[in-house]
């Protein structure tokens, strides 16, 4: 296992009744790195994300998150570690009884409640951070609205704001662009790339859109011009931070760069590339 890595999966296996959801999965993630995960429905992509923060217990192998072995940890021991990672759910996973502002504020006050006032931040500074996070996803104007009053794409963006408001070193994205129109999907992927490059956070992205992987591998956020710029130089280390993973029946059947994936002859791997 790599030193200083954020996440280490070592021969992880997990099964639901008689079906293997994960089979001997090995994976390492360092700060600033991105893994884009492709796979058919039921191939174990979402289970992999959930296993990262212990939402589903693994049957075999070892999962190390932020250097700590979470494999045998109890649910109550995991809460502290989980609050250091951000997760964006497929449908946003927003609490529909809370306003957008309260949803984004939730992780901040959750930490405060857990700390029982030790070093807790003031409401003013929390609101400032919430507004910053919402500004980051260009949704500050929805602060007082409820999730039911905004569109599906907006809900995903609020989900991203909620995941990053505590500035976690690891963000997990479960199909952030599924079911969205191409323009909204590109907006969301641009935000994810921006989040990665502005704060050097590690990202695990589950998606079925090859363009999402292309964008993460081929673009970087140019803070000077406040826009995405292509990674043009050959051998630019920023281009190599993104690796592609293809999963099949719980196993990783491909791991490599975008170029390696595009050169792959495997019929299953080719299914997830652009229609040619």
């Amino acid at each position: 296992m790599a030193e200083g890595s954020i996440l280490d999966f070592c021969n992880v296996s997990l099964r639901y009744e008689d079906v293997w959801a994960l089979k001997d999965v090995c994976l390492t993630l360092n700060p600033g790195e991105t893994r884009v995960i492709f796979g058919a429905a039921g191939s174990g992509k979402t289970t992999l994300l959930k296993a990262v923060i212990g939402l589903v217990p693994v049957d075999a192998g070892q999962v190390k998150l932020f250097g700590e072995d979470i494999t045998a940890m109890k649910e109550t021991q995991l809460f502290g570690l989980r609050s250091r990672a951000g997760m964006v759910f497929q449908e946003g996973g927003l609490f529909d009884s809370l306003s957008v502002g309260e949803n984004v504020e939730y992780p901040l006050f959750n930490r405060q409640t857990a700390a029982q006032g030790n070093g807790a931040q003031s409401e003013e500074s929390a609101e400032g951070r919430v507004r910053n996070a919402l500004r980051f996803v260009e949704l500050e104007h929805t602060y007082d609205k409820f999730p039911s009053q905004i569109s599906g794409g907006m809900r995903r963006r609020v989900g991203i704001a909620r995941a990053i408001v505590t500035e976690p070193p690891l963000v997990l994205y479960d199909s952030p662009t599924a079911g969205l129109d191409p323009i909204t999907a590109n907006t969301i992927m641009a935000l994810i790339a921006k989040e990665r490059d502005v704060r050097n956070s590690a990202s695990l992205i589950v998606t079925n859109r090859y363009q999402d992987g292309e964008l993460m591998a081929g673009f970087r956020y140019d803070s000077e011009h406040e826009a995405l710029a292509p990674v043009t130089e050959e051998g630019d280390p920023r281009g190599n931070r993104t690796k592609f993973i293809v999963m099949k029946e719980g196993s990783i059947v491909f791991f490599g760069t975008r170029q390696q994936m595009e050169a792959s002859d495997d019929a299953y791997v080719r299914r997830f590339k652009h229609e040619e």
């Binding site: 959930k50 923060i53 939402l55 649910e75 109550t76 809460f79 502290g80 570690l81 989980r82 609050s83 990672a85 997760m87 759910f89 497929q90 449908e91 996973g93 927003l94 609490f95 529909d96 939730y106 992780p107 959750n110 930490r111 409640t113 857990a114 029982q116 909620r162």
Partner: protein, 252 residues
């Protein structure tokens, strides 16, 4: 047979595990007091109107039926005693619990079930919050506090309902005689039964609602199924537990 037994024991074991965690969280930090007060408002104040109406008419109906039956034996003066014992020992706690089960076990199961199928429970866990601490314990505490209070209100309103039927409507007993026989009939054992039952029913209703809500799978259809199961199970357990408590108190 073994599979059938397993299908029943497995969920019961999980229910006990959930109940254990919920009770343990009452004394464990963090405490979500705001959620407790919100639930007390939803469960207690929200159920007040139906509890008052049901309590009133239960008392009135008992008085009507008993007046006729007691008149046969020339014992109409005992109506206050009969109403008092029936309401405080049994009908008050059981009817109130059944109403609250119908209204709140279903409400809790559907709310938590919807949260489960829309990944809000997973999101809560992912954000580092214990859903049992945040969702189950406040509902358990709120229902355990509010159901005895609602039962006392139902008993009080029921006694007024019976009074109105017995005294101004049927003129079978004098006002002072009704109230004195009503109070004299009650002993500590009856009051203890009348308060211990709703306390336990409150715990059962909230825990069953939460359990079925958190077990929900299969989208909106699953939410409907969880809601029905919660109301049916809570109602059955109310009768089973009232029988067990009666058995204990009768032997005292």
């Amino acid at each position: 047979m073994l599979r059938l037994l397993n299908a029943w024991i497995g969920p019961f074991q999980e229910f006990l595990f959930l109940a254990g965690r919920a009770f343990k969280n009452i004394v464990r930090s963090p405490h979500y007091y705001d959620d407790v007060f919100i639930q007390m408002d939803v469960i207690g104040v929200g159920s007040l109107v139906i509890v008052v109406l049901t309590g009133f008419f239960s008392g009135a109906i008992i008085a009507l039926q008993m007046a006729r039956a007691l008149n046969t034996y020339g014992a109409s003066s005992q109506v206050g005693t009969i109403v008092s014992l029936t309401l405080v020992r049994e009908l008050g706690p059981v009817l109130t619990a059944l109403l609250v089960a119908g209204r709140n076990a279903s409400g809790i199961a559907s709310e938590l079930g919807s949260m489960k199928v829309t990944e809000q429970i997973d999101a809560m866990r992912a954000l580092g919050t214990d859903p049992v601490q945040k969702l189950v314990t406040p509902r358990l505490t709120a229902t355990a506090i509010m159901l005895p209070a609602l039962t006392v209100i139902a008993d009080a309103v029921g006694s007024v309902g019976a009074y109105l039927v017995s005294v101004p409507l049927l003129h079978i007993i004098a006002s002072s005689q009704y109230w004195s026989s009503f109070w004299r009939a009650l002993v500590l054992n009856d009051l203890a039964q009348g308060l211990i039952k709703p306390l336990i029913f409150g715990m059962i209703i909230s825990l069953i609602g939460c359990f079925y809500g958190l077990q929900t799978t299969g989208g909106t259809q699953g939410v409907g199924r969880a809601t029905t199961q919660a109301v049916v199970s809570a109602s059955i357990w109310i009768f089973v537990v009232t029988f067990l408590i009666d058995k204990i108190f009768v032997n005292l």
